[in-house]
């Protein structure tokens, strides 16, 4: 096919919409232009307002081919869509990322690969699935939900759903899902995307009285030092890194600092990156700031608690801690316990730091340097401003609770909260928008994976997730789907054409024999939906209005600009269909108690859901970030790409946002003071099954996201730009390790251990140390979950995803798979 030598320009009268990228947490602003095919603008007169008779200069407005698509609406009319980064948005200031720059390419069109979207409900029939009406799908599904609940109780209905913002999530969909499952059905058998349970990933921060997202993005421009633990923002929080962190590192933010801090000593920023790999983040930070202002701590696995507490110990002993903050803003007795337990003050300094150095692989000198950059007073004696960020390296690290506690404690020790240039926050993966009625279960939350495998879950409803790909010990999950699901499939096959009552009775019989009814709600077919008895097609980003917050709690309206494909519906509307049907069933039985649990689903629009959630959602005291008093779609429309930062409050009839949390010094505990969360010595060791794996296999299989690969590549697997880069998952390994195993770049290798096996293409690179490797987390042709044991942190039910060890074996070259793949280093910036 011919290459694109022309991208049509939007005419001056093109429809315009404001939206936010559907992918990562950063939530860059984008502008959507829509106009009928054949009514293009011209070079000298177009909606972009620039004259294309001359080429645009660098940083100009440009519609890259990936930013344009032709779509077909339900009525058959065709439109051009151009989606370009919005320079009026303070998040990205007109920058796109590899993900956002290709938003248009992900749109549904019947004549492009995205035609693979689900367009109609499907019911298992014969050896496959056949299209059915929504009436039939909802009638059967709701009847089975009721039968399961009546016979086995609410917990027999299991769910695994998105809880995020951005594409497919958002306040509206999350609220509707929570209404149906929690205040409706009342199940505790709930779980979130790839994880086995329904839980916070940062319980320790919550217990300390600190929310997950505390700072404003501008704080990354104002900080003296940015500490990044277990995250790779160049690749996975791109424009937060490029548009904010880099400006600080390069000195471009100096005038902003002077304006904000007056006479206080300011200089360009420093960055500390704690990551086992020398990532592109490290390379780019060095290029921006100079090598002498970047400290990369290439940590050994399982030792974050030692590193962070070792640094804290140095800070305390050097008297660089913030005594006033600690005495006024924290519960004093927790600080005492923290010193005694976490910082091991009864052990001599050098002994404690010596052990920390030995376990982390990081010298005491580097820990001292880090301590200095984080907390030593500045040249003029003013306190240093440190912004602390953490993500999956810590959260999915060796001990979720104590890991997160260690960085939150470090922030409390140094008073790094509630002032410009500071904060302690997740860097985040997906966007947020968690508004739901309270989860009926306790803590630690019920492990749903286990309940599915054990047979306690009789009906499993999976929405926007793909457990066969991303859960831990994924192979065992597939066996459960196949065997337990197979019993139901056989029953449905036998009852084909019979009245619904008989079909439901047949399914219940199969469930009694150990079967499981599987429902999958998604935008595309997945490995999981292949086993589903009922498949429900959901609308995606741009096909319904939605609202979400980004990593600085910036709430915006993502405007609908096109129809969903076929009969696909927004998730909130699907939830409402089922709730109304369940209400009808229970009312017909005269069971008003249960019928009433499914009242108030009569939403006429997405905004109805948004407003209902606004009134009903109380959040938790520890995590107030999704409160949005007074916010309406109309307000958000007026606020456009910059929206408003949550939580909001109403002052003199004006809705006011919150740029930065805790500026009032009040934390989310009953006392209003923050708590240090202690890790008791000896620090926890590896769980038995992890330790056995670690001893038995040669390589640590670190794993995570990457620049090109957004989560499970659910859209991008259909797009050449991405597919040609990563047709199969890659495994980074040290060149010397590769050489020893006679593995060349691009060779397919087998990664195998006692849990399972994965095939990947070898990508030799000095980014990883010897004995370490790095595997892409959720690539559908091979996911890290196949290798991860089912061990979870007993305090939080959070898996140790980063904790897999395996052997690596060369299979051989597969040039037909890898011919488009570059094996040049991915961490070069100068």
């Amino acid at each position: 096919m011919a290459p694109p030598v022309k991208v049509p320009l939007p005419p001056r009268n093109a429809q315009t919409f404001s939206t936010v990228c559907q992918f990562c947490i950063v939530g860059c602003g984008y502008k959507v232009y829509k106009w009928p095919v054949g009514r293009d603008g011209v070079a000298e007169a177009n909606a972009l307002g620039v004259d294309f008779r001359q080429p645009q200069a660098a940083f100009g407005k440009w519609v890259a081919p990936s930013m344009h698509a032709v779509i077909t609406e339900r009525d058959g009319k065709q439109f051009n869509i151009a989606i370009v980064p919005d320079d009026a948005c303070s998040v990205n200031s007109g920058l796109s990322s590899v993900r956002g720059g290709g938003l248009a390419a992900t749109l549904y069109a019947p004549d492009r690969p995205t035609k693979a979207r689900l367009t109609t409900p499907l019911l298992a029939q014969g050896d496959g699935q056949k299209a059915v009406s929504w009436d039939e799908a909802v009638g059967l599904g709701a009847a089975i939900i009721k039968a399961v609940t009546d016979r086995w109780g609410a917990d027999a209905v299991g769910m695994k759903f998105f809880d995020h913002g951005g594409g497919g999530g958002g306040f509206e969909n999350n609220w509707a899902v929570g209404r149906l499952f929690f205040s409706g059905i009342g199940t505790r058998s709930a779980s979130i995307h790839n994880r086995p349970a329904y839980n916070s990933e940062v319980h320790a921060a919550g217990d300390a009285g600190i929310a997950a997202l505390t700072n404003a993005y501008v704080d990354a421009q104002l900080a003296d030092t940015i500490l990044v633990v277990g995250a790779n923002p160049y690749e996975t929080q791109t424009n937060y890194f490029l548009n904010h962190m880099v400006k600080n590192l390069s000195g471009d933010a100096l005038s902003l600092k002077r304006g904000a801090f007056g006479a206080e000593a300011v200089e360009k920023g420093r960055m500390i990156v704690v990551d086992p790999r020398r990532t592109m983040t490290v390379a780019a930070a060095e290029a921006a700031a100079g090598k002498e202002r970047v400290l990369h701590l290439a940590i050994e696995p399982g030792s974050d608690i030692w590193l962070l507490n070792g640094i804290a110990r140095i800070i305390l002993e050097r008297n660089w801690h913030d005594g006033a903050f600690i005495s006024q803003r924290t519960e004093t007795q927790t600080f005492e316990a923290y010193q005694r337990s976490s910082l091991m003050m009864d052990r001599p300094r050098n002994e404690m730091l010596g052990e920390a150095a030995q376990r982390t692989g990081i010298s005491i000198a580097d820990m001292e340097k880090a301590a200095q950059w984080i907390a030593a007073p500045k040249a003029d004696g003013s306190p240093r401003r440190c912004l602390m960020h953490y993500e999956k390296g810590l959260i999915w690290g060796f001990k979720n609770y104590e890991n997160v506690a260690a960085i939150v404690d470090l922030a409390l020790l140094t008073g790094s909260l509630g002032k410009p240039g500071s904060g302690v926050s997740r860097l985040g993966g997906h966007q947020e928008g968690y508004v739901r009625p309270p989860y009926p279960g306790g803590r630690p939350a019920l492990n749903v994976d286990e309940a599915v495998r054990r047979g306690a879950v009789k009906l499993y409803w999976v929405g926007g997730c793909n457990p066969l790909l991303t859960t831990l010990r994924a192979g065992a999950m597939e066996v459960a789907f196949k065997e337990r699901g197979g019993l139901v499939t056989a029953s449905l096959r036998a009852s084909q054409g019979k009245p619904i009552g008989e079909r439901v009775a047949g399914v219940v019989e199969a469930l009694k024999q150990g079967g499981m009814f599987l429902m999958v709600q998604d935008i595309y077919s997945t490995a999981s939906s292949a086993y589903a008895h009922l498949v429900l097609p959901a609308a995606g980003w741009g096909e319904t209005n939605l609202t979400s917050i980004n990593g600085e709690r910036r709430l915006r309206l993502y405007q609908r600009f096109m129809d969903p494909p076929g009969d696909a519906k927004p998730d909130w509307a699907i939830m409402a269909l089922f709730a109304k049907k369940l209400h009808e069933f229970y009312r017909a039985e005269g069971n008003s108690l249960l019928a009433n649990r499914f009242l108030d689903f009569d939403w006429a629009s997405d905004e109805d859901v948004f407003i209902q959630a606004r009134y009903a959602f109380k959040g938790t005291a520890a995590d107030p970030i999704e409160g949005y008093a007074g916010v309406t779609y109309d307000l958000l429309r007026r606020l456009g790409p910059n929206g408003i930062q949550t939580p909001t409050r109403i002052v003199n009839n004006v809705v006011v946002g919150t740029a930065r949390l805790y500026e009032d010094g009040k934390f989310a505990t009953p006392s209003g003071k923050a708590r240090f969360i202690t890790a008791s010595p000896p620090y926890p060791g590896y769980a038995a099954k992890v330790e056995a794996q670690r001893k038995r296999y040669r390589f640590w299989i670190n794993n995570g996201r990457s620049n090109h690969i957004w989560q499970t590549v659910y859209h991008h697997r259909f797009l050449d730009f991405f597919n040609e880069r990563m047709p199969i998952p890659h495994l980074e390994m040290h060149p010397d390790d590769a050489k020893e195993l006679q593995i060349a770049a691009g060779d397919v290798v087998e990664i195998a251990n006692d849990v399972g096996r994965v095939e990947a293409m070898a990508y030799p690179t000095d980014a990883v140390k010897r004995g370490h490797t790095f595997l892409i987390f959720g690539q559908p042709r091979g996911a890290a979950g196949e290798l991860v044991s089912d061990h979870v942190d007993p305090a939080t039910t959070i898996p140790y995803y980063k904790g897999a060890w395996a052997d690596v074996r060369r299979i051989g070259p597969r040039p037909e798979l890898t011919k488009t793949v570059s094996f040049l280093p991915q961490n070069v910036a100068e």
Binding site: M1, F52, S96, V98, E235, D720, F721, P727, E816
Partner: protein
């Protein structure tokens, strides 16, 4: 990757048919050049119709004999506002011509925000200094890592009478809605 090529309808693929044609034509030209039997090359729009909407100009970049391994030649193509670079790599390249298919040329305007990319010989990559997107000149300008959403536009080359000539562009050059103004 046959299966994926079948899905190429998705829009903005630029390698399949164009490159196959390029390889055939340029490979042929190189072969002939090596034997000294160089035919007169017809107008560019006739030899590379797949990359031409309105017809690209023909631009003589350099004599083949003077392009050594490691050569880096700056030129403008298809017009004076479009900086480009010709490289002779130490390895065969997709769409490459000349000895070992090692000669390639690209627009140097990064397809992210239009900053110029520079060739980093130590890593055999074209690297943008603004946001550190990098492109592999041996892989048709595909992005190694970075924030562009398109490969670097590759300039179609051919050898005619011992001279390497630019005859077309695959992909859209940054800042334009058409390559030919």
């Amino acid at each position: 990757m046959t299966g994926q090529e079948d899905e190429a309808g998705c829009g903005h693929r630029r390698t399949a048919s164009v490159d196959r044609r390029k390889v055939l034509q340029w490979g042929g030209a190189v072969g002939l050049a090596a034997t000294g039997a160089v035919p007169k090359v017809s107008l560019a729009q006739e030899v590379t119709p797949a990359v031409a909407e309105k017809g690209f100009p023909v631009f003589e970049v350099a004599p083949l004999a003077k392009i050594e391994v490691g050569s880096e030649i700056a030129f403008q193509y298809p017009d004076a506002d479009s900086p480009a670079v010709l490289l002779r790599l130490d390895r065969p390249a997709e769409g490459g011509i000349g000895p070992g298919q090692s000669i390639v040329a690209y627009s140097i305007l990064c397809t992210h925000k239009g900053c110029p990319v520079a060739f980093k010989r130590s890593h055999n990559m074209l690297l943008c200094g603004c946001h550190w997107s990098s492109f592999d000149p041996a892989k048709a300008g595909r992005m190694v890592i970075g924030q562009a959403s398109e490969p670097l536009p590759q300039i179609a080359l051919e050898v005619s009478n011992g001279v390497v000539r630019a005859v077309g562009v695959a992909g859209l050059i940054y800042g334009r809605h058409t390559n030919i103004r």
